[in-house]
Symmetry: C2
Subunit: 712 residues, 2 copies
């Protein structure tokens, strides 16, 4: 490995200058101002906080000094290109200062919160206590001396340019010998006060600085809609509809479906783009091993005609940097990527760092595998699941550095073919330091690469993967069914985890056909799609199976699909009349039209009096994609089996107000983006009744401009 | 200043070894195990957490690795003397490990949480999945090789001594060629498993380490009862009772009271010790300036016979290292300290870093004061209060280092005379870096010194003073009157602030006669004393005025005392029949008998259905001062004007149980330590009625051993 050693970004917030200076006999005293960083901060600064292009970030810090002097604060945000943006911070309650910054550059950024005692503001504050008839000579002179300390010529940066030396001399003269009116004018000069505040912040000796590290990713890391399909399976063309043999939305020709190709996959892009998705995720496209190849329905020993699991990577055709010959060529993939991008779609590939027994590395790099005393390699297990067709890699072998380097080269290879997004298979079975190194290494070369962690593991493990760099994370969404569970889970994700973990909510995956989809019928699919698309800025579906309401489990009690594409080819009839495509299309349209659904921050649940109803508000500040501020209120009946009703409480805070400005009963209009109707709602309780066999949800755009503080 | 530069203790938790190692071509891979520190941790490790001798500290960390290998964790606590104590950590829910450590040495300690993958435990875990009839040769061999990797001769530390090489050889032979019974015996050998776990933790390459810094103070920093009095005032002896002229518990002889002395103060120690207090705090005992000396009731210009404010420090007799001649001599103070200590009392002095205009430093060190353009020094203000008799020091002057050093020498001087505890006057008007430096400097020389911050300022300022080193902090207790306010405030102090701020609750101070004491009569004094003494492990009273129910304000709406000792001598008749002394004595007795009241951690409020009642439970783990675990439940009627009643809910958690083991209605006995009666209480609601004119509170010792899970 020839590249430099990974050096972890210095993400600890730097301590106040005051605390580094210590005490010397000479030199200036430590800065008096205290800056305590509040947000964005992950584990006290141990990891950079996540941010994305175009997403407003709240910068929060406690800034204060001893005594009664006035302090001033700002944030200086230094982007990767070393340009600095100055962000105004405003004092709120209890010495807490707030500002808002919207990232415009990919890569690392550092938010330096600067606080300083402001001598001029303190003098002005003092002036408010001067009494009539008091001899002001001393006070005037103090002010004059403060102005005389302004450096001449003024140092950059430019904000002080409005305070030229000539003007300072005039002000000093006005203070020393001017009239009462001159004094009053100087005291009331807000431009002067503002320039003097900035001067205080630029005083290297007096200002305290604390730095918070941020990692800025592309907007698609924050908001994305994923559609997964197996390119080796195919879509039934309308001219072959008559071949569809059964009622499960699948079809097999008389000789079985043929093996699809990457070129054929291009033919599916229009449909996916039409549904409004923006990421097309393909399971592994590499050669598949033949040793212990799995047969249909995860049969332990497949026959010679079985296609095997795409995750059993590597064979005669090559390993992780090869394409399965039956799928096509490198050129085909490059064309697929281009065709997708032409439709606003990104192709995401799978990074599954494991090998079939036939992978070239098994013989070329035996040290990359852990051999048992009898010389064999133990196959992978994720108890109780067994993967007889897969060998795990040994990330901590003697030649760990060689393996890590080779895996980074795999990522680089696909980046070179235009891939920008990776879904990473089972990252929780590889060491965290490997991911931290790999993601940092790749991002140092290309800060726009997006990684989705497919870890359905314990909470701390999933959170750690997010902290060490994964852009997005699969979640427990798939198994959160009750209003209370959904509220607790997404409440936690969007508060405690908001600065490091971006949830991606999937109603299904090829590995997970959840119970409620098995027995809930079409309403269950609708409910779960609406929930995922509105509660999480990132969502995705295992596409054909979801569109076509595929719901037969391998066996009773199993979450595996029957006739899963993981082990056999399928042919999908996407034109079936019961297809969920219209709802998926409308959901993505609504998401694209409404920035509130493109953000996870500030999700807020409504109190609901009624079983099986969940309701939540998502706000968006103004300016995202140039759009105005907005609030989206979603109400979902989680019961696929029957009509549910109840009262949904909307609080003033959920409308951006407080009880004083928007008392109980104040009315506002909501427009149902799903159903189309307009309703009058009120602060306080609102009656809702939802029938899952019709539309199981409202997605309301709140007409915030029309909120009337009038009791009904 | 000749002493070394302050170097701030490195309190940032060190990052995992894994994350420091980075990636090199050679050498071992980064450790796979993750340790995320949880507690005790202040601001992500920016400050050391507070601890005290004898107080059990919960050590909490999240420890895990990728995949399914078993991890093991422990804490190694390194005390100031570099001795290491190994603390067992036990895995709880969601990868969170817990342990408990009780400090025994003053000064800095570092808690290093160590986590490692445990290969032997993983092998044992694997063994549980072996199936009958399986060929175990490979598994046996893997186990044998793990044992063969145990270093020979075993490295220290000693815990591995029980695994001698001879025994290892036997075990290896048993695995390779032994019977099924031999294998089973090895698998069931818990001593072997335990030794192998410790070995994993000692493996420098495999173990991850995170360090949390702690500062250990004397027990009196955690639990103390303060009694403040002005030694220049005197106590009316019983033979002069007839001189008492009025009904406010004060007396002035015909010629006014004489100026008390430190030697006379010795005569008051028996009384204070009898009341059960353990800290005697004297306001400043230094010479008092004459310029702009204050007269009685804060009259701006006192007469020549006025004694002036003790906080106007410095005059002809000297400055902060001198004793007011009328109080006595350095020898007198040393005797007072000795006599106090003989009675179990510590004398606390006041550190008021400010000067009267007559302080020697005003002429000897003019640069230590900020001069106005006309050469004058502006007197101190704490708006709206004005201190014409006091000059503030300039902590950031050109000679700031000289001033800071001189102030440290002041502290050293009084330490040399036996003082161990300081009450620090208005620390929030001096720079935080000064306090951080001063306290660190003094503690580096003597780790047992205790500092109480008298800052009634904004929350973040008070918290920062605690973070930078103050042992205890005055609080807003004095102004928290309603059940909701008390619950919110102490709830916050004992959760968010628990690791850095130790509250000290004072019902009154010479500066604060709160409204409720002015008009609440004796019941108000009782209520506030009971509250302070039971809700906070540290409490204090401005003694004579509190004992004698002094309650006349300077003026309507004022919180200043009329005829305050701050500006005049007083003579107190402590033998008056209405004295609150019996209650104070009983409260301190109860506190001394019950470790639960000597801790602030784990305070828990009861839900109460009833106005003006507040109820809370404090638990103590076993072993504090050698006593068993206990729980104290206090219920207080906060209304001094009338009888109040209501239902007090006790939850199973407040009794150390859950609802399964202690269902609603389970009965337990409580013994009222104030009233003496024994009651049967129940999980769930309990009826309470309290008359402030009798006993306004219950302080119940819960008979935890007798808790019966029987519905009533």
């Amino acid at each position: 490995m020839s590249r430099p050693i990974m050096s972890r970004p210095a993400t600890q917030p730097s301590v106040d200058d005051a605390r580094e200076v210590g005490l010397r006999r000479t030199g200036p005293p430590p800065a008096r101002t205290v800056v305590e960083p509040i947000a964005p901060l992950v584990d006290g600064g141990a990891f950079p906080a996540k941010a994305s292009i175009g997403e407003p970030i709240d910068i929060v810090a406690d800034v204060f000094a001893e005594g009664h002097d006035i302090v001033v604060a700002e944030a200086a945000v230094v982007a990767t290109d070393q340009t600095t943006e100055h962000i105004e911070l405003v004092a709120g309650h209890n010495d807490r200062w707030h500002g808002r910054w919207t990232p415009r550059h990919l890569g690392s950024a550092s938010i330096q919160v600067i606080g300083a005692v402001d001598p001029w503001a303190t003098w002005l504050d003092d002036a408010r206590r001067w009494t009539d008839g008091q001899d002001l000579a001393v006070h005037r002179e103090i002010g004059a001396r403060l102005l005389e300390q302004v450096p001449t010529p003024l140092a950059s940066p430019t904000p002080l340019a409005e305070l030229p030396h000539r003007r300072i001399a005039e002000l000093v003269a006005g203070l020393r010998g001017g009239t009462d009116e001159d004094l009053a004018a100087i005291i009331d000069d807000t431009d002067l006060a503002s320039a003097m505040s900035r001067l205080a912040l630029r005083d290297p000796g007096a200002a305290a600085r604390v730095t918070m590290a941020v990692w800025v990713e592309p907007a698609i890391a924050r908001c994305s809609a994923w559609y997964e399909f197996f390119p080796r399976s195919t879509v039934l063309r309308s001219d072959s509809h008559t071949n569809a043999p059964d009622g499960h939305g699948t079809g097999t020709g008389t000789d079985g479906p043929h093996h699809g190709t990457l070129i054929e996959a291009i033919g599916r892009l229009d449909h996916i783009a039409d549904l409004g998705f923006d990421v097309v995720y393909l399971p592994p496209i590499h050669p598949i091993g033949t040793t212990h190849r799995k047969g249909p329905d995860n049969c332990a020993e497949g026959g010679p005609d079985d296609v095997g699991s795409p995750w059993a990577i590597g064979g005669a055709g090559g390993g992780h940097d090869a394409i399965h010959p039956e799928l096509g060529t490198v050129e085909d993939l490059a064309r697929l990527v281009r065709e997708a991008r032409g439709r606003g779609l990104e192709i995401a590939l799978d990074l599954a760092f494991q090998c079939s027994p036939d992978h070239p590395w098994v013989t070329e790099h035996p040290t990359w595998f852990r051999h048992q005393p009898d010389g064999s390699i133990r196959y992978a297990e994720n108890p109780p699941k067994r993967y007889q067709d897969i060998y795990p890699l040994d990330f901590t072998s003697e030649d760990w550095a060689g393996l890590w380097s080779a895996l980074a080269d795999i990522v680089r290879y696909w980046l070179g073919l235009g891939i920008r997004i990776f879904r990473v298979d089972n990252p929780h079975t590889k060491p965290f330091p490997f991911w931290e190194w790999l993601i940092a290494t790749i991002r140092a070369e290309d800060p726009g690469v997006v990684f989705l962690a497919e870890a359905f593991s314990r909470p701390r493990i999933m959170e750690r993967l997010a902290k060490v760099g994964f852009s997005q994370s699969y979640t427990y969404f798939t198994w959160r069914e009750s209003p209370g569970d959904i509220r607790e889970y997404f409440g936690d994700l969007t508060t405690r985890c908001i600065d490091f973990l971006r949830p991606n909510a999937w109603p299904n995956t090829p590995d997970i056909l959840p119970r409620h989809l098995q027995d809930g019928g079409r309403p269950a699919f609708s409910i779960r799609a609406i929930l995922a698309a509105t509660i999480s800025a990132n969502w995705g579906v295992y596409g054909p199976a979801f569109e076509l309401l595929e719901h037969e489990p391998l066996a009773a009690g199993s979450e595996e699909y029957r006739s899963s594409e993981k082990y056999q080819l399928r042919e999908w009839d996407l034109d079936r009349s019961e297809s969920l495509a219209p709802l998926l299309r409308r959901l993505n349209e609504i998401r694209n039209d409404h920035p509130a659904l493109q953000l996870d921050r500030h999700l807020s649940f409504c109190d609901v009096d009624g079983d099986q109803l969940v309701a939540y508000v998502k706000p968006a500040p103004p300016g995202i994609d140039g759009r105005p501020a907005e609030r989206i209120l979603t109400v979902v009946n989680l019961d696929p089996h029957g009509r549910r009703s109840g009262w949904v409480d909307v609080s003033p805070a959920q409308l951006g107000h407080d009880w004083d400005s928007l008392p109980w009963g104040s009315a506002f209009e909501v427009v149902d983006l799903l159903g189309g109707a307009t309703y009058e709602w009120h602060v306080g309780g609102n009656w809702v009744e939802l029938d899952p066999h019709g539309l199981p949800a409202h997605i309301f755009a709140i007409r915030t401009s029309g909120i009337r503080p009038v009791a009904s």
